[in-house]
């Protein structure tokens, strides 16, 4: 496993591929959770420009600014800064501004950054996040499109024959409130409480992993 992590580290050290830098959007919007009935139309076109600012809006705007700042870094620094910032987006509602920013990262040309964004979206249980994944099925980078299919399969809990099957699944997919609660960010107290349980069961290991 450490070997696998080491690979991740090496990736972090490697140079960014392709045209990874994109310009920030010319217009800024107020961050709002995406409305369910419009989420899958075009998540990258901001419309909600006059809404009031909430604490979540402020956090989103601050995060988006950090993402843009990191994307402006040189290849050596960019990924190491960008990915931890992206990670923090899991604590925020999925707004149009956030979706548009994710799309910028996805279209930035860097494979690992794009896959990481899809992984973040995969962790959510929302119509807008699934719509984002479905749109990514048509991404010009084959690796990104394939990772999007994996993500759809993870959300759906099934295996799709192809991208078209995933699109059909997404048309009728509805968020499961129980899973939405399950996958929502938890406080540290919740995490600790869930790890100490009576009646735990232990497997019997009979196989040995090869040395790495």
């Amino acid at each position: 496993m450490l070997c696998v992590f080491a690979i991740g580290w090496m990736i972090g050290q490697s140079k960014q591929q392709g045209g990874g830098e994109t310009s920030p959007p010319s217009s800024r919007e107020i961050a709002r959770p995406v409305e369910e009935n419009t989420a899958d139309k075009n998540p990258s076109s901001p419309k909600n420009t006059n809404a009031a600012t909430s604490p979540a809006d402020e956090k989103t705007r601050s995060l988006v600014n950090e993402i843009h700042s990191a994307m402006g870094e040189g290849a050596e620094q960019r990924k190491a800064k960008l990915l931890p910032i992206l990670e923090r987006s899991t604590e925020l509602p999925l707004s149009r501004e956030l979706l548009a920013t994710f799309q910028e990262v996805l279209d930035g040309g860097d494979l690992e950054e794009g896959q990481y964004v899809l992984s973040l979206m995969e962790q959510r249980e929302e119509k807008a996040s699934v719509a984002f994944l479905v749109k990514a099925l048509e991404h010009p980078q084959a690796e990104i499109a394939e990772r999007a299919l994996f993500a759809c399969e993870a959300v759906g809990g099934t295996v799709f024959a192809d991208a078209q099957a995933a699109r059909q699944w997404a048309e009728s997919w509805q968020p499961d409130p129980q899973r939405a609660a399950l996958f929502a960010p938890k406080s540290q107290q919740d995490v600790e409480a869930s790890s100490v349980l009576p009646g735990a069961r232990q497997r019997n290991s009979t196989q040995k992993t090869p040395e790495k």
Partner: protein, 179 residues
């Protein structure tokens, strides 16, 4: 003896597919030198015999650029040291929680799941941190990550069969097993 045979006959493997994200902090010469972040598509295979967990395997698949060749490679790794322990909790035992341990990692990672027809259905792997003591003698000082998994296959098969099925599926998509 009969009970044992029946338990063996009831061996059942449940496979959960999902994604996990990990961030690793590397530390050298008392200086934090790098944070590596990686995302995996993962399969967690749990084998039951009756109500007992008798085997578990985790398969991680990822895409990465090989810095030596400059090419993007698709790989997967089968973690046969993976272990899971859990219990039921909540009113009427309506939820599942416990810990998972991966090969080469010293500390269990907590998870919480939901039930479907009395069995583990979806589960979420929570953030974990500080697997290793903060020592200049260690390269990795912190690993954090989280993931989500949905059950997508369940059947009366052996763990090897389920593992081979996942491996064949990944290989059909151009992934190669690494050791």
């Amino acid at each position: 003896m009969i009970g044992l045979m029946m338990a063996t006959a009831q061996a059942d493997v449940r496979t959960y597919q999902g994604s996990s994200r990990w961030s690793t902090t590397f530390f050298r010469s008392n200086t934090k030198t790098a944070i590596g972040t990686t995302s995996y598509t993962s399969y967690t295979l749990i084998e039951y015999s009756g109500s007992e967990v008798v085997g578990a395997v985790k398969i991680d698949a990822w895409t990465a650029r090989n810095p030596e060749t400059g090419r993007t490679e698709r790989n997967f790794y089968v973690d046969r040291e993976f272990a899971v322990e859990f219990g039921y909790f909540g009113i009427g035992g309506v939820n599942i929680g416990g810990g998972m341990q991966f090969g080469g990692i010293a500390c269990p990672s907590p998870f919480r799941g939901t039930l479907k027809y009395g069995d583990l259905d979806a589960f979420s792997l929570y953030n974990t941190a500080d697997y290793y003591p903060n020592s200049s003698g260690l390269d990795v000082i912190e690993i954090t990550g989280s993931g989500r998994y949905n059950a997508y296959f369940s059947g009366n098969v052996t763990l090897d069969t389920a593992e081979n099925a996942v491996a064949a599926y990944l290989e059909s998509r151009g992934y190669f097993e690494v050791f």
